[in-house]
Amino acid sequence: MKLEVRVMKSKTSYSKKLWSGRLVRHNLRLYGLLSLLFTIFLWLVHPVRMLLDHERMLGMQEVGALYTEGMRILSFPNPVDGLLAFVVPVVMGLVLLRYLQEPSATAVYHSFPLGRSQILGSQILSGAVLFLGPLLLNALVMGGLVLWEGNGAWTEAIRWFAGYGTTGMMVFGFALMLGMALGSTLVQGVLVYVFLFLPVGLVLGVANILELLLHGYPYGESDVMKWTRISPVMALENMARDGNGWDRTMVQFLAYILLFFGMAFLLYRKRKLERNTDYLCFDSFKTGFVFLMTFLGMTLAGVYFKEMMYTRTSTHVGMAVGAVLAYAASQMIAQKSVFIHRTWKGMAVYGLAMTLTLTAISLDVGGYSRRIPNLGQVRSIQLTQQLLDTEGQLRSYGNWGSHYDPETGMPLPEGFNPILAIQEGNGAAGLKTYIAQEQEAYVTPEALQAIWELHFSRMSEADPVERGSRVVLEYRLENGGTLRRGYSFEYDAKVPELGRLFETLEYKRKNNPVLFLASQGLSKAVVNSPLGEPIGIRGQEAIGVLLDGIREDVLEETYESRWEEGGPFYFVDFYYPYTDLQGKTLESYVNVPVYSGYGRTREALDALGLLDRVVPTPGNVRSLAVLDRMGEDPYLEKMRSMEMPEAYEGLRKVEDKEKLALLLPQLQSNYRYTLAGDYYQVQVKALNAVGEEGLRTFYLRKEKLPRELLAEVND
């Protein structure tokens, strides 16, 4: 018989079809239950919850609340959706590829008159229907609910579907692609998640270790960190954080879908079915897999040991241990055998290469640490905000607006900033300018010079330190390039070069919102007196006097004086009105720390007749006792000594007014942030603003205690 004389049915060219409808129907019947469960779960999480919330919101008679709530539920990814988008598609990918990982099923499937592309196309289509079907159903219901409420954007349901669907199909494609190279469902499941998180883990891990090995390496802000975005997990996380990135992320995911499905088809074509129960079905992948896993193991263990002990030696030991373990485990997977002793040469070569590489990095063979641009090439310098922000060394101002509803004490709605709701003409309206410029780079010559000098000073310091604040300097160059370096600052170390930056006007404007306040329109000022009761100040003129005094002190303050303070003496809150989302007028405030060295502020209080109600003076202080020198934990000591009248009575006290007049002006802070220096804790029995007697705690540097009183107050 000749093939060509055979009567062929002309309706279909089977070889050209991308899927088999019957195979798809079979898959839907087989795994439809999984899809049904997914549908019900989504139904409970979204439409049912919206309906329940609808009843609740109607009860509260809050117009627009349902809309807001609905949008929150519809936003993607919320935690439940985000999790399911990474679980359900992987399960689909595992069950739909099981035929490929069982020899008998493989033989039967591939003896059918179906091409491999047609089989895979059918599995993809099945997975798409099983996953997208429930999503579409729920999206339609939710869109309908929003329309029924008559308050809004049913298109959000479409966006929810698109976001969820794209993410899920991308994960599904990834699971299929990996499954095409693997011969075990278990290994497929594990490796899908390993590789989904791998880019993030590797980049973070490498950057973390480089931070220790390479002086000046800017962990957390490095260029390499952007590589974490290639991970779908990070892309989704970014999308969740930045709603504006939604469309961009969708495009990225669509590209991934094409890539993953395309790779799956390609691998399927190359896959040798007689190898279908090997953990790794492609010999050509084995070497790459083993060394990738070895590098991953080395990095993870290195990071773990580094974080545990924070020394180079411990990190190197961790890396070596992790590399050996990961090499052994991955060789066992690749060889499908526990007898891997013959592969020791690979480990030896890897070890040698890594030793050379790490040595080169530690010695900074490439001169990375020494590469600093000349100031003439620099357009601006950005400092990360964690710089100088920890433990209040420089940014202990804390002078920021309240984000709590003053009436209910509840947090303001997420994303709502009362400062942005301040009306023009209000004295706090300048805060909008403050917000706008706060995060911007430094541009003035004096600030650039100070930062540049600061950079040189850091280069000569040993780095990193265990207790420190990480600072990243980002130079933006005239030629459009950027250069970043990161260093650690010890909390308690005095850095003169930092002082030069601190005293620049630009630094002060970036860190002191009080400089942007005007007395017009402010509703009140509240002095949180260290003696006990807060004192309210009303009237534009009185507020203006206090505000001017504080502003002058902030502008004149030196690094040296700040350094000696240890912490603020008290705080002043400047209140301003704003309009909330419902159109109601509320108040928020800017909280400004005042230090003992703020002379203009003291004069302002004096002019307002408030000095005796705020500052301890011989007039309002009954007695004073100096406790022993401070230990390592000022907060704990403060807690132990405060408001214990019985204990206070047993102390040696100073009651003589002349001696008090000598001692009281030396008191430095009511709150102590820094551990640098030797301090005395001072207990004061004083009258508060309403004439009640109480014990208050202050701090005093050892050298500030008047010599003539030293013997008297110190046991």
Partner: protein, 303 residues
């Protein structure tokens, strides 16, 4: 019809098939025999388009098989280890096969159902091994393939059902000129149904011949000579006789001799035997002697 030329298949360093040639004419029933590990299943999976050969060519009517959907439309494969789509019943499987095989014949499906007396609504996973085997035949034969590839096809079937299945198959061979390539260790059964046989050993095709021709080329003879003829005189004539095996029981000697009957007979008769007769050889005996010659034989070891 089926043609495999110099087919090679390696599993890592292990050579499963080494330059194997196999040719099956249309309408033929070809038995593939060989010891365990000879490469029979590998060869069948290559023919069914499951495995891709590392070398050589596999074709049906001159058209390559691998990843060729049109050729596979004309083939059905029943592997040694059966697999059915999960949760399937014969009915749902028939619908599936009916959809993907253009020649699937529902009338024949119904006819075979009447013979096999299986419940088409019963889940295949709940059936016995023999019943599942019947289902695979049922479906394969309803596809009306031109080529049927069988790996240990009747393993697990009772004798009556074996005969029934073979009867159905041979009916298709006779009526439609279906070609069957079957691998089995049940040589007695193959002998009844095959017209051609190939013997595979250690990945190499030892021989492939028409079964009758094969039988005509190897003989078992019993000979007894008178007292004037010294025992073993026939062996001395090995120059003209290819004796594969010899046994003596009293004055009667039994020989397995390769060669045409017309060549053997004169040599034996020239010694004027008292007793001389040709005894028919079974396929199993032929297999044993051929394989034995290739270094795979039953060892007379008592444990």
């Amino acid at each position: 019809m089926i043609s495999m030329d110099a087919v090679t298949k390696n599993f890592g360093n292990f050579k499963a098939l080494d330059q194997v040639d196999l040719h099956v004419a249309k309408g033929s029933v070809y038995g593939l025999v060989g010891p365990n590990g000879a490469g029979k299943t590998t060869l069948l999976k290559i023919l069914a388009g499951v495995y891709r050969p590392d070398g050589g060519a596999v074709s049906v009517d001159g058209v390559p098989v691998y990843e060729n959907v049109d050729v596979k439309q004309r083939m059905a494969f029943i592997p040694d280890e059966l697999h059915f789509l999960p949760l399937a019943t014969p009915k749902s499987l028939a619908a599936f096969y009916g959809d993907i095989y253009r020649e699937f014949d529902w009338e024949r499906y119904r006819k075979i159902q009447g013979i096999l007396e299986l419940d088409e609504r019963q889940k295949v996973s709940k059936m016995s091994k023999g019943m599942r085997k019947q289902v695979s035949f049922w479906l394969s034969m309803a596809c009306r393939p031109d080529v049927l590839v069988l790996d240990e096809p009747v393993d697990g079937l009772d004798p009556v059902m074996r005969r029934q299945i073979w009867s159905l198959l041979l009916q298709d061979v006779a009526e439609r000129q279906m070609t069957v390539l079957v691998s089995s260790h049940n040589l007695r059964e193959l002998e009844d149904v095959c017209d051609h046989v190939g013997i595979l050993n250690k990945g190499k095709m030892l021989l492939e011949r028409d079964l009758d021709e094969m039988k005509s080329d190897i003989h078992k003879i019993q000979v007894a000579y008178g007292p004037d003829v010294a025992p073993g005189v026939l062996e001395e004539r090995e120059v003209s006789l290819d004796i594969l095996k010899k046994e003596r029981s009293g004055s009667v000697s039994t020989y397995i001799v390769r060669g045409a009957k017309a060549e053997v007979e004169p040599v034996v008769l020239s010694l004027s035997p008292l007793l001389f007769e040709f005894i028919p050889l079974t396929l199993e005996e032929i297999f044993m002697y051929e394989i034995g010659g290739a270094g795979y034989e039953v060892k007379n070891i008592l444990l």
